[in-house]
């Protein structure tokens, strides 16, 4: 006989909990471009009305026939979603379908088992939301969702049992959940960390790069192949992190750190363009290092580059070598270094620094035709250059032009976006004020008009120190443009005509700056140890723990137990890291004390909660097992008094305490008495003495 489905008990409470969870679950989806805000707003409206109705405890929910009609009505929307709106994609229409089904199901909850259908839909949406999220703020969503889910499951469990014991309605508040939900969620989150770390990885970390919103990987404003004269000026207030750097040796002064990103050689239609040709593969040394220039490396800097939608590496201008997890690296004569692929996520690499700027002069003494082309320079700029630069050597004339621009022109961002037909003319002859791109572009054209090859370079100038972990941050606001010019025998040299007032500002001080740094720290850690966490990190953590264990053994037992580890030779002899400053990515990926603290905490927890209480029965069992191990004549089912007699024959030293212990055991086990604390302590002491008497030498 078919069993009648059970009606929904504790209906108001269950509806409210499911509604709250259904309201929260799809929150990250529009950020991740899995659904639109409009669709989500409609969904939230429907669920909000459901919650309102459930809160009032009203009856009369959607009948089954109406749910079926609604499902039929949705079919055309599904077809539209699949074939037109999200053509070729499955996830988005599927998520829309589940959102619709969940909203309808909530309104049509009648039976007990249907709450699980709704919860299944919520789970699917949760996995979709998490699986497409990479922003650290998703952690807050994750924690909130976890706590709410624990509350919901706990309440469902309480309702189930209360119903079984005769309560059909009312509230499950007789079972307080306050002491369970918050500690349970916290405990689960804490436990999830090591589980996350040890779950086996079979693939490289997958990063879903979607949109500029809070849900996806934030790709930085890329300095593209075409650069108009406002690009860098507009990014001056951009707080997005572009680079993070960790220096082995003392870093250069923050305002002098200069990182080269791109070189532009053609100025056409008031915009700079770069020639993509001229790349050559760089030879990789046996140590895995790509040597860019034949100069000794004085120190190394580890760099984390945010994804920028291109394969170009951003390098310090004094880089002479680069170490990156890639099979090939190509370099242009202008010093631009590029990877064959575009990294989808944060790229980590090391740059070997030389004593002086090397990147500008990789092609010493030569210039491309575009860099030497002075024919296209407007006549009045040519005339200005001739007046300003005068006669003399290339270096001297270039200095005069740079000094003129610095002295006679004012730095401003006020003129950004003035769509003039001749922005350089306006800058040089009318406004006499502008931003760094205008200064640098003017200098390039002036130099070229006077026969000095020059090119526009974009990159980043300056950095800020993050004391939370000891690394430097370069933000989008540090974007800058400057000039490289071929100055006769001196080769390619950097010229920066922007006045000091126009150089990127120092970092924000005070609370706001600290907050930014703290957020960046979190973001960096999240990106490095969650999103990009992979097999090699697991291996590194494992070897770190192993190394720690060997060190601990050496410390405890004074033995040199650490096997000799064959390490690949460092690319160049590098000075030791600065004492007291942690270097991210070097050594174990977690503080060395952390595993030890975890072990101690585990021992403490075991001692407090997990240790089995010694009873006279357990003490007797241990005594019997020990006696059996020493005396084959003691059988597995030996009676207590027989054991005492046997001990008297073989181990007289153990008889007295063993006899007392057996008496306690008989009282506890056969007499059904509960021994008090003093007697249990006595049992412990008797066991110790009896075991001592069992030693073979003490017969």
């Amino acid at each position: 006989m078919k069993r009648e489905p059970k009606p929904l008990g504790f209906a108001r409470e269950k509806r409210l909990l499911l509604g709250a969870l259904a309201l929260l679950t799809p929150l990250p989806l529009p950020f991740n471009e899995v659904t639109g805000w409009l669709q989500l707003a409609v969904y939230w409206l429907v669920v909000g009305l459901f919650l309102l109705r459930a809160w009032r405890g009203e009856e009369g929910w959607l009948p089954y026939w109406a749910m079926n009609v609604l499902a039929l009505l949705y079919l055309p929307f599904l077809a539209l979603d699949l074939s037109v709106l999200w053509r070729g994609r499955v996830l988005q229409p599927l998520v829309h379908l589940v959102l619709f089904a969940l909203a309808v199901k909530l309104w049509g909850l009648h039976r007990e088992r249907e709450k699980w259908h709704a919860l299944l839909a919520i789970f699917f949406l949760f996995v979709a939301a998490m699986g497409t999220s990479v922003h650290p703020s998703v952690l807050a969503y994750f924690a909130a969702h976890l706590a709410l889910t624990l509350l919901l499951l706990g309440r469902f469990t309480a309702a189930h049992l209360l119903e079984r014991h005769g309560r059909q309605a009312g509230s499950t508040a007789v079972v307080p959940m306050r002491g369970f939900v918050v500690p349970g969620a916290l405990l689960s989150l804490v436990l999830a960390v090591p589980l996350f770390a040890i779950l086996p990885r079979f693939q490289s970390p997958y990063i879903s790069v979607v949109g500029p919103g809070g849900g996806g990987v934030t790709t930085i404003q890329s300095l593209d192949d075409r650069l108009n004269l406002d690009t860098i000026g507009r990014s001056r207030n951009d707080r997005a992190v572009v680079l993070r750097l960790s220096y082995q040796s003392p870093p250069p002064p923050a305002h002098e750190a200069r990182f080269k990103s791109a070189v532009y050689d053609r100025f056409e239609d008031n915009a700079w363009r770069r020639s993509r040709g001229g790349f050559e593969a760089v030879r990789r040394s046996p140590g895995g290092v790509f040597d860019l220039a034949a100069a000794p490396v004085r120190s190394w800097v580890r760099i984390w580059l945010q994804p920028q939608g291109r394969g170009d590496l951003v390098l310090p201008v004094d880089a002479a070598a680069v170490e990156v997890a890639a099979t090939r690296v190509a370099v242009q004569a202008s010093g631009v270094v590029a990877l064959p692929v575009t990294p989808p996520t944060t790229l980590e690499y090391r740059a070997g620094l030389a004593e002086r700027s090397l990147l500008p002069e990789l092609a010493a003494g030569t210039a491309t035709p575009q860099e030497a082309d002075g024919d296209g320079v407007p006549p009045r700029i040519r005339q200005l250059a001739a007046e300003v630069m005068g006669e003399g050597g290339d270096a001297e004339r270039a200095s005069r032009a740079m000094a003129h621009l610095r002295r006679e022109y004012r730095y401003t961002l006020d003129l950004l976006g003035s769509s003039s037909a001749d922005p350089l003319g306006d800058f040089l002859f009318r406004d006499r004020a502008g931003h760094c791109e205008l200064f640098a572009s003017s200098l390039v054209l002036m130099l070229r008009s006077q026969g000095i090859p020059a090119r526009l370079v974009t990159g980043y100038l300056g950095s800020e120190y993050n004391p939370l972990e000891g690394y430097h941050i370069v933000r989008g606001g540090n974007a800058h443009a400057w000039v490289e010019a071929l100055l006769g025998d001196d080769g390619w040299r950097i010229l920066d005509p922007t006045p000091a007032s126009g150089l990127p500002r120092a970092a924000d001080a005070g609370l706001l700056g600290l907050a930014r740094q703290a957020w960046d720290y979190l973001e960096f850690r999240w990106d490095r140890y969650v999103i990009s966490y992979g097999f090699y990190d697991q291996a590194r953590a494992f070897f770190g723990l192993r190394s720690l264990w060997l060190d601990l053994r050496r410390l405890l037992f004074g033995r040199e137990t650490r096997p000799e580890v064959v390490r690949p030779a460092e690319p160049e002899a590098a000075p030791a890291p600065e004492p007291g400053r942690p270097v991210p990515g070097e050594g174990p990926s977690m503080p060395a004390w952390l595993p030890l603290a975890a072990v101690l905490a585990a021992v403490g927890i075991w001692w407090r909660f997990g240790r089995r209480e010694l009873t006279a029965t357990r003490a007797y069992a241990r005594l019997r097992d020990r006696a059996r191990a020493l005396d084959p004549g003691v059988g597995p089912s030996v009676a207590p008094l027989a054991l005492t007699r046997r001990l008297a024959e073989r181990f007289p030293a153990a008889v007295a305490p063993a006899g007392s212990l057996v008496r306690l055991y008989l009282r506890e086990s056969f007499g059904g008495e509960s021994l008090d604390a003093a007697e249990l302590e006595r049992a412990r002491s008797l066991l110790r003495r009896a075991l001592g008497g069992l030693k073979p030498g003490r017969r």
């Binding site: 049992l161 999830a192 693939q203 997958y206 969650v530």
Partner: protein, 338 residues
């Protein structure tokens, strides 16, 4: 008070099966794509599983259980067994504990037991057989916190109950003559305990029968006459020499016989009679009152069929009323030989 526990294992619930299936389902795309956000979800699902197990274990342990035996327990009558639960921990309250006594008893739910507090819980039991009923454990089980697993634990309480035979209503007994004629019996002067009459002291009366208080009040010696005891005495003879019993039907008939003997003794004792019980290989002498009734019921609760070789002890005084319960006499309607 019991603290010692015996684990009763762990059983996955239907919700738990779904939870494990979903956990495995998330693991597949996580491993297949290397998406660390899905790994995070997977780790959290596993962590919740572990935390649930830990809390479930902590929820059942570190309790003190005390058994409170019920007063009297009869076959076929629902009785209430009471236990006291007390939490030993300082921090952790216990939630959703389901308790069950011996086999056949109902279960009770303790929704919440705060830390270091005590709660009394009761379970109903309807014994099907007379005799000793051990209550070795209180079985505790819980699906707390999330309903994924059902974990059980036994607390040793070492209790034992004695189930008395079923007591039939007096009207059902149809005892020939004795019980029904209770009100028609002849009162005689004798050496019993009950008052018969007060009269003036006559020479030859036993001076021990003088009612001194009444004599002091009236100024003349008053003599207290007592009722003869044998007028309210009953011997219940149960012939248990029927072993071996052939089959379940015979066992049922014997149980019915024991029940009728117990009912007869019970109802007569309730009416103030002195009752003795005679069995092959034992019995209980004359007596009255509650404690005597319990002694007789205890003897009848534990009586077993024995071989018929031993003689059936009959009452020495032929004037004493006697009810004999024997299997051959019970073949017909429930009746006793008076």
């Amino acid at each position: 008070m019991a603290r010692r526990t015996v684990p009763e294992g762990i059983r996955i619930t239907r919700v738990g099966v779904w939870y494990v299936v979903l956990t495995l389902l998330v693991a597949v795309p996580a491993a297949n794509t290397g998406n660390n956000a899905l790994y995070l979800v997977e780790a959290a699902l596993l962590a919740v599983l572990v935390v649930s197990g830990f809390l479930s274990r902590a929820n059942l342990r570190r309790l003190e259980v005390t058994f409170e035996p019920p007063g009297e327990l009869y076959v076929g009558e629902t009785a209430t067994l009471a236990f006291r639960l007390r939490t030993r921990g300082r921090w952790l309250g216990r939630r959703l504990l389901e308790a069950r006594g011996p086999a056949g008893s109902s279960s009770a739910l303790v929704p919440y037991l705060p830390p270091r507090r005590e709660r009394r819980l009761t379970v109903d039991l309807r014994p099907e057989r007379r005799g000793r009923l051990p209550v070795p454990y209180l079985h505790l089980a819980s699906i707390y916190p999330l309903g994924l697993f059902r974990k059980g634990l036994r607390y040793r309480v070492e209790g034992e109950l004695l189930v008395f035979p079923a007591i039939l209503p007096a009207g059902e007994l149809r005892l020939a003559g004795v019980a029904a004629g209770d009100e028609r019996r002849v009162r005689r002067i004798g050496r019993g305990h009950e008052l018969f009459s007060l009269r003036s002291f006559r020479p030859g009366d036993d001076p021990r029968g003088i009612h001194w208080k009444r004599s002091a009040r009236t100024g003349s010696l008053v003599y207290l006459e007592r009722e003869a005891e044998e007028g309210r005495r009953l011997t219940v003879v149960l012939d248990n020499g029927v072993a071996p019993l052939a089959g379940a039907a015979a066992e049922r008939r014997f149980e019915a016989l024991v029940s009728r003997a117990a009912s007869a003794a019970h109802h007569h004792l309730e009416r103030g009679w002195e009752v003795e019980l005679r069995l092959r290989g034992g019995g209980v002498g004359f007596g009255r009152g509650r404690s005597h009734r319990l002694r007789i019921l205890e003897a009848l609760a534990l009586v077993e069929p024995v071989a018929a070789g031993e003689p059936l002890p009959l009452p020495a005084d032929p004037n004493t009323a006697c009810l004999r319960f024997a299997l051959e006499a019970a073949e017909g309607p429930l009746a006793a030989e008076a």
